[in-house]
Amino acid sequence: MELGSVMVKSAIINSDYLLSFPVELPVPGKETVHLGQRVEAGDVIAESILPARFQVFDVLNQFRLKESELEACIKRLAGEDVQRGDVIAKKAGLISRFFRAPDDGKVVAVRDGRVTLAMGEKTIQARTPIAGTVGEIIPGLGAVIVARGFSMRGAWGNGKTAAGTLLMLETGKESNLAQVKDMIVFLDGVTALADLKSLQDHGAAGILVSSLDPSAKAALEQFYIPLMSLLGFGEAVLDQLSRTTLEELRNSLVTLVARKADPYRDVRPELFQPHETAKTAELFTKPESTLIGRTARLLGQPYFGSVGKIVELPQKAERTASGIRSQIAVIEREDETIIRVPLENLEILNS
């Protein structure tokens, strides 16, 4: 029986999890860390120093020269540093013509009668938003930072990361807004866009929600603070185990790695707490090698977000109400009802 699609996905809640976080420059540069190096949040992992601007001067055409006259005309060679006002090329004559460096810089090329100057410097840096160890160097671009700790994986993130103290907030209470500054705020239920904006405006470091309103997706992607949904979009109820876990993390320092999900690479946004803590570790047993008996969270309506135990894995594929044949799992839900769910429509809750 093919269980691959479920088995390859990491569990939602992991007490001992190795977070891999690539930190990369948008344009090639040079990595500034080495393999195995310990880094803190905010450390520079790679940087690219680019000329702030270029000037290409076509000596041949601008000075109307013959090719044979070119060599005598160009006064600087490729690689030479130049100061503002330095003569780069000169055409002698009754009234001499000059091409002077418009700023401090360097002659980077002299080819085909054209002189290219690079002036000024602009530095682009890639900083790690999480503390950890350099686990892999990405040549010319950055590194993969790894950190071990507790992780609760989400479904959707807006691509941002921040750290702060976890605050459990009741929705709709104006008085709560005073507490949110620099906090990672958790809100249960489907949170309205206006409430999320209000939290952002009041200085929250990041926002964690059970579910999001799908009609606001485009606006949510534009949030400048990290935003992560545990279940995804639409009506859904967060399971008790996830709630208890969040309660355990209340008032402790967490990192909201609200990176964008890539389901094909099993990359998900996550709420992360570096270092294994006693109170989270004891919640979970050792990883199981079989799916039977494990707690699964269900995708799709009408059970979206609810959990149950896998009690049976029939060998044969079954036809669902839609007509599609699929390998299924028999699930015993918390209310003791038994349902049959395609394997692809469930996620293993804990490791």
Binding site: Q55, R114, G234, Y264
Partner: protein, 569 residues
């Protein structure tokens, strides 16, 4: 001696393997298998390749992959064994592309067509006519993150000054980037500057020189750039998945993008058929869609990555045949992106899934029409050109529960005109054939002839200006049982199906009304038509272009359900 060929296709969700041999005297597909593709670990793709190879070994008893993970290719033709391996990929991040050309119309437009065939994202375009400032060009190039640059050099012997300046800039860019993160550069066009570009840029194997895509004034042939672009794309993919490097360097192993392999077979099909029509292929995967249209030897194609926006939600809602709230559709589509393997379970979910697939095809073909003037498609009026067969492939089609769903998705998405045949590539065999074609030309011919494709339906699309409910066509159906012939009428806004019985093709006389066009060349012109045996048989689509649909939402959904019902429960 028996010759065997192995092909492995890696897509985001599944890795598939096929084994062909000619033991029976002609080539046959003797086994196929699939395994989930696992990314995120160093050996991810190798694990999937290993798994499908082992499964094929178990099924056939052949040795395909050694313990050192080398394909067991037998080069001695006197010994039976594996002669070649095709490795295709439809996986990886979109390749960020910069296009540089002399003019918008004659350089950038063809370059867009060239690049968009593959999984690319155009991040910068420089028209040398609009941006003659060399300094600004250089600044744009150095501050843009990209993987591939395609430079069109214009006509042979054409203007050189601006091009030489760009080439000098590229030299500088290559030096600034350094070896490890150097982009791939493809130079096409003006052949008098090709050697200059090679010497000046000094990018070694990262520079690829192609022919001129406009060999004569007014004639465009993108195939002249194919080889160079293909080489650049393969290098980029091997950089992204270095674990494949060793396998791909083995002799008789052919690495290709899956979309290129498919187009190669579509091209071959178009060349070998005698109906003077084009070939269209729609390939749907959870994360992307790809269309290839071949017409008069010209290849058109476009890759589209999946995206869900508010417009998608509206379109899916309009095309769904169930009463579903907008919020439900929005949540389903948003979550579907996050869980591409999700199986629609309920009738409502299936309705949204089917509607979404149709919408994706419409968007794909609209994008192709925007790129190619010769491809006439409009989301409301459908596909104007003659294409037969229309091939349907990819895991989205593969997992649909019945032929009528595949038919409705394709028919609603494409809205073809005239007479055509819809064909399902159930084993997704077009991709491996494209990858193996150059090893043995008989392989493709014999596999295609071996009924490996499943006929979905022969479709007569009736185009008539009359109102809904009026007669548009009369059919005389000869089911092959002696003299008896059945007569049927088809009315505007109807979808009617005539089953075929295995082993017995339908012979049908079409007698259209004077104002009806059934694809026989003129309005009112009819004639005999043979409909081969297929899953659905012969379908007459007189739903109109655009389809006649009630304004009322519930009535519209009911009509859609009726159409599906007419295809058989």
């Amino acid at each position: 001696m028996t010759s065997s060929y192995l092909s492995i296709d890696i897509s985001s969700q599944n890795t598939r393997g096929w084994l062909f041999d000619d033991q029976s005297g002609s080539f046959e597909m003797i086994a196929h298998t699939s395994a989930p593709t696992v990314l995120g670990s160093d050996q991810g793709l190798i694990t999937a390749i290993d798994k499908v190879s082992r499964e094929l070994e178990t099924k056939t008893g052949m040795n395909l992959l050694s313990s050192a993970r080398r394909f067991q290719v037998e080069t001695d033709r006197n010994i039976p064994g594996l002669r070649g391996v095709g490795l295709t990929m439809s996986i990886g991040k979109p390749i960020r592309v910069v296009l540089v050309g002399i003019s918008e119309k004659y350089s950038l437009e063809p370059l867009r067509r060239l690049a968009r065939f593959y999984n690319t994202e155009i991040v910068l375009e420089i028209s040398l006519q609009n941006e003659p400032n060399i300094s600004v060009q250089l600044e744009k190039l150095t501050s843009t993150a990209f993987d591939l640059l395609i430079l069109a050099g214009g006509v042979d012997g054409g203007p050189e000054k601006a091009l030489r300046a760009v080439i000098s800039n590229l030299r500088l860019l290559v030096q600034l980037r350094g070896g490890a993160s150097r982009p791939q550069i493809v130079y096409i066009g003006n052949q008098s500057l090709a050697d200059y570009a090679k010497m000046e840029i000094e990018a070694g194997e990262d520079l690829h020189i192609g022919g001129n895509i406009q060999p004569e004034s007014g004639r465009e042939d993108l195939s002249f750039a194919s080889k160079a672009l293909l080489a650049a794309i393969c290098r980029l993919r091997l950089k992204e998945f270095p674990e494949l490097q060793e396998l791909s360097e083995q002799p008789n192993v052919n690495l290709l993008p899956g979309e290129f392999a498919r187009a190669r077979i579509d091209h071959w099909l178009e060349q070998t058929q005698t109906n003077n029509k084009g070939v269209l292929q729609i390939h749907l995967e959870p994360d992307h869609a790809h269309a290839v249209a071949i017409r008069d030897g010209k290849r058109m194609g476009v890759w589209q990555n999946c995206r869900v926006d508010e417009e998608t939600v509206t379109e899916v809602l309009v095309q769904s045949d169930q009463p579903i709230e907008r919020a439900t559709v929005a949540a389903y589509l948003a979550n579907r992106e996050l869980h591409p393997g999700f199986v629609p379970v309920s009738i409502e979910e299936m309705s949204m899934e089917i509607a979404w697939m149709g919408v994706r095809i419409q968007r794909l073909l609209s994008e192709m029409a925007a790129l190619y003037d010769d491809f006439h498609y409009d989301g409301r009026f459908g596909l104007m050109g003659d294409f037969e067969p229309i091939l349907l492939s990819g895991s989205n089609f593969e997992r649909l529960s019945s032929a009528r769903y595949s038919f409705m998705v394709a028919q609603d998405g494409i809205l073809p005109h005239g007479i055509t045949t819809l064909v399902g590539d159930d084993y997704n065999v077009i991709t491996p054939l494209g990858a193996l074609a150059e090893f043995d030309s008989l392989l493709v011919t014999q596999i295609v002839d071996s009924d490996v494709f499943s006929g979905l339906a022969t479709v007569i699309n009736v185009d008539s200006p009359v109102a809904a409910g009026q007669k548009v066509l009369q059919l005389e159906v000869d089911e092959g049982y002696g003299e008896a012939r059945e007569h049927y009428q088809v009315y505007q806004a109807e979808l009617k199906r005539f089953e075929t019985v295995p082993g017995n093709a339908l012979r049908v006389y079409l007698a259209p009304e004077p104002e009806s066009d059934v694809g026989m060349g003129l309005r009112g012109l009819g004639g005999w038509l043979n409909a081969s045996v297929s899953d659905l048989g012969l379908v007459v689509d007189a739903r109109g272009r655009p389809c006649f649909l009630p304004v009322d939402e519930h009535a519209r959904q009911e009509v859609r359900r009726d159409w599906l019902w007419n295809l058989g429960a």
